[in-house]
C-alpha cells in the first residue's frame, strides 16, 4: 500500500507529458514519469520517495513504438514481455527474459528497467552492444542520442526529460553470446550479466552485475579483441583492466565476480570464434 496521496494524469502525447511535468515542477509538486510503476510503487510504499504527481506515459503512441527492420525501435512504455514475445532479436529476448519474473515482466517496462533506481539496468545491455540510440523528449523538443555518448553509469537524462524509445541495429549475422549468473537461483539480481555481439576481432561487450552499474568500455574491448593473447589470458587481462570496479556485497565478493567474468569471457570468445569458423 502507498501511505500518502498523489495525483495521476494520463497524457495522450509527448508534449502533454512534458508540459505536465514542467508545470508540476514549477508548482513544487514533485512529478514523476510512470510506465510499469513496479519500482515507483515499491519506493512509495517504503516512503523512500514522495511524488505529488504521477504522469502515466503508457498511452503515448511514441512510447509504444515497436518497429523491427535493419534498425529496430522499441517504445519505453513497452512491457518486457511484449518485447520478448514480439522481437526477432535473440540477444534482446534472452536478456529481457531473465529480468525479474514473468508476472513482473507483464508490467515492468523497457524504460522503467533502464532509468529506474536499481543499478542493474540489464535491459540497456543489448542496446549498448548493437549501436543503440535513444529518443529523448524535453521542453525543447525531441532529439536522438547515441547510447555510447548518453550512458555513463546511467542514462544521462536531465530532470524532466522523458525517455521516449530506444533503437538498435540488427546484427544480420546473428553473432551474439549472453550469460547471466546469480547467487541464489534464477529469480534474483545478477552477479554477472554479459552481452556480447560481433565477429571475432570486433567483439563488443556490455556488462552488469559485476559492478555497481552497467559498463561498456571501448578501451576494454581493445584488450578483449587482442588476438595475440589466448582466451584465458585475454579474459584475465580484461578483468585486470577493470580491477577496481568490481562490486563486493552479500551476493558475491569482488573476487568471485572477477572469476565469473573471466569464465564468461573465455566462453564467449570460444563460442563466437567457433560460430564464425563455420560461416567461413
Amino acid at each position: 500500500m502507498i501511505p500518502f496521496k498523489f495525483s495521476y494524469v494520463v497524457p495522450d502525447t509527448i508534449e502533454e507529458a512534458v508540459q505536465a511535468w514542467n508545470s508540476a515542477e514549477k508548482r513544487g509538486v514533485n512529478p514523476l514519469y510512470y510506465s510499469g510503476g513496479t519500482e515507483i510503487i515499491t519506493l512509495c510504499r517504503d516512503q523512500k520517495i514522495e511524488p505529488g504527481l504521477i504522469i502515466d506515459i503508457k498511452k503515448i503512441p511514441d512510447c509504444n513504438t515497436l518497429v523491427q527492420n535493419e534498425t529496430s525501435t522499441f517504445g519505453s512504455a513497452l512491457t518486457l514481455n511484449k518485447i520478448i514475445e514480439s522481437t526477432n532479436i535473440p540477444i534482446l529476448a534472452r536478456t529481457l527474459e531473465r529480468i525479474a519474473d514473468h508476472t513482473i515482466r507483464n508490467k515492468l517496462t523497457l524504460g522503467g528497467n533502464i532509468i529506474g533506481r536499481l543499478p542493474y539496468r540489464e535491459a540497456v545491455l543489448p542496446f549498448m552492444v548493437l549501436y543503440g540510440s535513444v529518443q529523448i523528449a524535453s521542453a525543447n523538443g525531441i532529439r536522438t542520442e547515441n547510447i555510447s555518448d548518453f550512458f555513463n553509469k546511467r542514462m544521462l537524462l536531465k530532470k524532466g526529460e522523458l525517455l521516449v524509445n530506444l533503437s538498435l541495429k540488427n546484427d544480420k549475422n546473428d553473432n551474439w553470446f549472453y550469460k547471466r549468473k546469480e547467487k541464489s537461483g534464477r529469480i534474483d539480481y545478477p552477479i554477472l550479466t554479459a552481452c556480447f555481439t560481433g565477429k571475432p576481432g570486433n567483439i563488443k561487450m556490455a556488462l552488469s552485475g559485476s559492478f555497481s552499474y552497467p559498463i561498456r568500455d571501448k578501451e576494454v574491448e581493445i584488450i578483449l579483441n587482442n588476438k595475440s593473447l589466448d582466451h584465458r589470458k585475454r579474459a584475465a587481462a580484461v578483468v585486470d583492466s577493470m580491477n577496481n570496479l568490481f562490486r563486493s556485497d552479500f551476493r558475491a565478493s569482488a573476487d568471485y565476480r572477477k572469476h565469473l567474468l573471466k569464465l564468461t569471457i573465455k566462453d564467449a570468445l570460444i563460442y563466437l570464434e567457433k560460430k564464425n569458423e563455420n560461416i567461413q
Binding site: K5, Y8, P11, G37, T38, C44, A100, T103, I104
Partner: protein, 154 residues
Amino acid sequence: MKIYSDIQKVVLDVNNEKRELVIEPSDTLLRVLRDKLELKGTKIGCEHGDCGVCTVQINGKAVKSCLSLAIENIESKITTIEGIDNEPLKKSFVKHQGFQCGYCTSGMIVNADSLLKSIDKPSDAETRVYLESNLCRCTGYEGIESAVKNTVKL
C-alpha cells in the same frame, strides 16, 4: 489528457461485473480489491512484488496487484481468483496436492490459468517461466507441477 487529482469515483470491471467505487489515485489495486470490493481471495504477502500471492489477471495477463494502481486499471478487465472459472484446473489442484496451507493458492491458480490460456500445451520450461513468479512454502512445488500437468492432459 485525463486528470485524476484527488479522491475519485471510478468504475472497475472486476470478474465481469462493473463495480462503482471511490478511490485515491495512490490506492494499489490489491488494497482496493480486498478493502473496498471485499474480494478477500487475493492475498497480501510482501507488497514488494516478490511472492505472488496477490496475483490477479489484467486482460488475461497475470499481474501482481500489489504493484499496480487501481486507477491505472479503469479500462481493463480485472479477474481475481473469485472470477477464475477454470474448474478442471481447480479440481486438479485438489486431486494432485497443489496446495497445503492454501495461502499461495489463489495467486498460483490465477497465474496457472493465465499460462493455460496463453499456451495450449505448455512445456516444462514454459510452465517454469510462468510459475516461478509465485512462491510456495508448503508443497515443495511437486504437487503444483502435478496439478498443472494433469490439467493439460485433460
